[in-house]
């Protein structure tokens, strides 16, 4: 009998219609490091949320030490000895380490007051026992990212967790911090704990885990002993077979560059690893450039920088040859930026407002006469967009009443109406059905054929391979591959770049780190 058994776990998100987990089985042995790997949207995080009580499964059972358990909420999970370290830390930055650790289960004195001294002492003991390098009395805001993660682990140990779930624990860490984390994990295994490691970094799987479960599209596609597989096989299992898109991309010659990035970086305080590391990029007119990568490797940051929502800390960005590095979204819009964001429900649309008001958001200046919005012009404009993009909506409807596909069509309609010759798409088909995705693809190719420069940021390899003329692959904030899209290029090759197995930006000896196996 395995330590933890999840059987037939199924979870449907009704709002988006996404089947995040479909009859998933997961079996974890006591005292092992079990890796769960898969691309974005493969269902790893959902599975862990279900295990930690943050979500509830529609079907399926969880057995812990042979007993069936129902995990109502994270507190119930804690009581069962399950602890989770989230990718994004949940810490109060003005509290000390000790206060953060005990938060929610504070030691009391006289039944009413928080016993700070006991808290600091208990937490200090946990820290010492496991050899962490943090001071229980320091405020969390003064810690480095690696130390904050240690606080999260201590928090779980303080609550006597026996099974630790780590969700993408290395995504924000430097190499040295990663080494340190791995040391901690080995130490925990030595003390009889069990660890589930969620990741999409194959290197870590090979280095750390005993067994590995591979997920794709909400299903488990493989369970292997780590010693029986190699990275190439895992990569193939993760990305799956090529699915050809129904698109017709005609070869073209490209014009002048419309967007250029030179050495663009983002560095954050307290974080040694830059979020973007010297990005060079060029989109020429008539060219569709695809940026591929797994989430957390800099795709979102590229989107924010080009969209003017986050300043670059170094480097230069040129739009139509003009230096727009310091422009905010407002000035970029004036300079002719069109941009379909990945977060279409919060950033790309304002759901409580009408379709009409959503459609004019970027160009309401055009409908002004003496400072007053001309209703007739707005109505005509909106009707035209609804018609041309066959949006299933009324102009006075709140945008929130539209389906996901129609919201995306509305955003597309608005952004394309600017007739800009550079347009940025970020994850444009995420969560959309096939018909809507097809519509988006056709529009993108139409723009390209009309001579616009198109930049497509996507973690969906099929669409990158189907649409892009040039493909850039991001890994840990760097461009590790610059590839011409031709017959010789396959999903496997891109997949290997995405997962850090290939790296053209470094010398070959650096590219494939020596494999350190756990003894």
């Amino acid at each position: 009998m395995a330590y933890l058994e999840m059987r037939g776990i199924t979870k449907l998100y009704p709002a988006s219609g996404v089947l995040a987990n479909s009859a998933v089985d997961l079996s974890v042995e006591e005292n092992e490091i079990h890796a769960v790997i898969g691309e974005n949207g493969a269902g790893k995080s959902t599975l862990m949320k279900l295990l930690y009580g943050l979500e509830h499964p529609d079907a399926g059972e969880v057995h812990l030490r042979g007993e069936k358990v129902v995990i109502k909420d994270p507190l119930a999970a804690n009581r069962l000895g399950i602890g989770m370290v989230h990718q994004h830390f949940k810490l109060v930055s003005d509290f000390t380490v000790a206060e953060n650790v005990v938060l929610g289960s504070e030691p009391r004195k006289r039944g009413l007051f928080v016993d700070r001294r006991k808290a600091a002492k208990d937490v200090g003991e946990v820290i010492e026992e496991h050899g962490f390098s943090i001071d229980a009395k320091r405020r969390v805001k003064n810690l480095t990212v690696g130390q904050m993660q240690q606080v999260e682990i201590v928090k779980m140990l303080y609550r006597n967790a026996e099974l630790l779930i780590l969700d993408e624990p290395t995504s924000v860490l430097t190499e040295q911090e990663i080494e340190r984390l791995f040391g901690t994990l080995r130490n925990l295994i030595g003390r009889g704990k069990t660890i589930i490691l969620i990741t999409h970094k194959l290197e870590e799987v090979m280095q750390m885990s005993d067994r590995v479960t591979v997920m794709r599209g909400g299903k488990v596609v493989a369970l292997r002993n780590t010693s029986d597989v190699d990275k190439r096989e895992l990569s193939r299992l993760m990305v799956g077979k090529d699915i050809l898109l129904q698109v017709n991309r005609t070869p073209k010659t490209f014009g002048d560059p419309v967007l250029e990035m030179k050495g663009v970086s983002i560095r954050c305080r307290g974080q040694e690893r830059p979020l973007l590391d010297e990005i060079d990029l060029q989109v020429r007119s008539g060219e569709l450039v695809g940026i591929a990568g797994v989430g957390g490797n800099g795709l979102a940051e590229i989107e924010d920088v080009i969209g003017g929502l986050r300043p670059a800390t170094a480097g230069h960005i040129y739009l139509h040859g003009d230096d727009v590095t310091s422009f905010d979204a407002q000035h970029l819009r004036e300079a002719g930026l069109a941009y379909v964001p990945a977060d279409r429900l919060n950033r790309g649309a304002s759901l409580p407002t009408t379709v009409r008001e959503n459609c004019i958001a970027t160009k309401h200046h055009d409908f002004l006469r003496a400072g007053v919005l001309q209703r007739r012009g707005i109505r005509e404009f909106t009707r035209r967009l609804i018609e041309h993009f066959s949006i299933d909506a009324g102009e006075s409807m709140p945008a929130g009443n539209l389906s996901g596909g129609n919201i995306q069509k509305m955003i597309l309609a608005r952004e394309l109406s600017a007739e800009s010759d550079f347009i940025l798409f970020s994850e444009p088909t995420w969560g959309l059905d096939i018909a809507s995705s097809q519509f988006v693809y056709e529009k993108m190719l139409e723009l390209r054929d009309r001579g616009a420069g198109v930049l497509l940021i996507s973690s969906n390899l099929d669409e990158i391979l189907g649409l892009a003329d040039t493909i850039l692959v991001m890994y840990r904030g760097r461009v590790v591959g610059r590839l011409e899209n031709n017959e010789a290029l396959t999903k496997e090759i891109i997949g290997e770049y995405m997962l850090g197995l290939r790296d053209d930006s470094r010398t070959p000896s650096e590219a494939i780190p020596s494999e350190v196996r756990r003894g």
Binding site: G307, L309, A329, Q330, L332, R333, E334, Y339, P341, D343, N346, R347, G348, A349, S350, L351, P352, T353, E357, A361, T362, H364, H365, L368, G371, V372, L373, R375
Partner: protein
């Protein structure tokens, strides 16, 4: 499910009517318990304001200031900016208007009056805009900074009214009276109702048009609903942390000026007390709709007039009248606040 339905009901207009009904029932119960002549008391509490032209006119007069401050709060809240400094802004508006009128005793009414009103609007806009600016520049919380600035300003105005600007010929704590030509025309004698009620109604309609149809209004509303989206769409989000606050403060300053030039003719100590806080309640009941501010302000004024009439004509004590009023305000604002915090949560998320 049942809970969600209940929630929807509570935040809808039917919910508001229901709440007012419950509040009235509690008031009737209170009077029945505490009054020896409950029939008369209840009659004057609810019907009193309509029994005499004098009461009725005064009730309308009282609603004027509430309309202006209610509009000010509605504009701020609709843009997701938060002005809790209405008291200080209205009070300083009253003082500045008085000071300008006193400093220019011989100008034609329309010129000096316009200068006084403009000055009052500017001081209110400045005080509230300051909170917006701090928020834009350093991220300070508008709720707190506007409240604290106002609390300090009230003390400064108190000092000026009772010190340097005090009228020695008058035993009350007040400035001297403003000249005849600056006093608004009475339109419903013998009551205090003056012509500025038309300005208030026009201001409500104008604000509605401004918010719904103009460039600034559109951008302010979009920022109020979703700042993420507005920023992405190229709207100057930082600017709209300051502009709605300044407009809000301007309305409060105007309310102060109107209360001096329409009703009191001088800046008494605490002349505008209550206008700021009650404006928030008015805006909440109106759900930040500028047109709905008109009936909401009238409703507030009606309750106040009813309490006064019941005190005059029945054995309702000042305390009982205030408690009855408080019960109604409490329930009505709680009901309106409920919907407000629900929508604010969405903006924050």
């Amino acid at each position: 499910m049942a809970r969600r339905q209940l929630t929807n009901l509570l935040s809808s207009t039917t919910g508001l009517v229901l709440t007012i009904g419950i509040a009235f029932a509690i008031v009737i119960l209170l009077i029945l318990l505490l009054s020896k002549e409950p029939g008369t008391a209840i009659y004057y509490f609810f019907v009193g304001p309509f029994t005499k032209a004098y009461y009725f006119g005064n009730m309308l007069n009282q609603s004027i200031g509430l309309m202006f401050t209610g509009l000010g709060i509605a504009v701020a809240f609709k843009s997701s900016t938060f002005n809790l400094g209405g008291e200080g802004q209205a009070y300083s508006g009253a003082l500045v208007a008085t000071a300008i009128c006193l400093a220019l005793p011989n100008l034609p009414g329309i010129v000096g009056g316009a200068a006084a009103i403009l000055g009052a609007i500017l001081i209110g806009a400045f005080l509230a805009g300051l909170s917006g600016f701090f928020n834009m520049r350093w991220g300070t919380d508008q709720l707190i900074s506007s409240f604290l600035i106002s609390a300090a300003v009230i003390l400064v105005v108190n000092f000026l009214v009772t010190g340097p600007l005090d009228d020695p010929k008058n035993s009350m704590l007040t400035t001297a009276s403003i000249a005849e030509q600056y006093r608004f025309l009475k339109i419903f004698l013998p009551s205090k109702l003056d012509v500025s009620i038309f300005f208030a109604v026009a201001a409500a309609i104008g604000t509605y048009f401004f918010m719904q149809r103009t460039h600034w209004g559109y951008e302010m509303r979009m920022c109020g609903i979703n700042r993420n989206f507005s920023r992405y769409a190229g709207i100057n989000v930082a600017k709209y942390l300051v502009v709605p606050m300044a407009i809000s403060g301007g309305f409060h300053g105007l309310a102060g000026a109107v209360s001096v030039m329409g009703t009191h003719y001088r800046c008494l100590k605490g002349v505008t007390t209550g206008l700021g806080w009650n404006g928030i309640a008015v805006a909440l009941i109106a759900k930040n709709n500028p047109i709905a501010v008109i009936p909401a302000a009238l409703f507030f004024a009606y309750l106040d007039a009813g309490a006064k009439a019941a005190m005059l004509h029945a054995d309702v004590t000042f305390e009982l009248a205030k408690i009855a009023q408080a019960v109604i305000f409490f329930l009505v604002t709680a009901q309106a606040l409920y919907g407000f915090f629900k929508s604010r949560k969405k903006v924050a998320a």
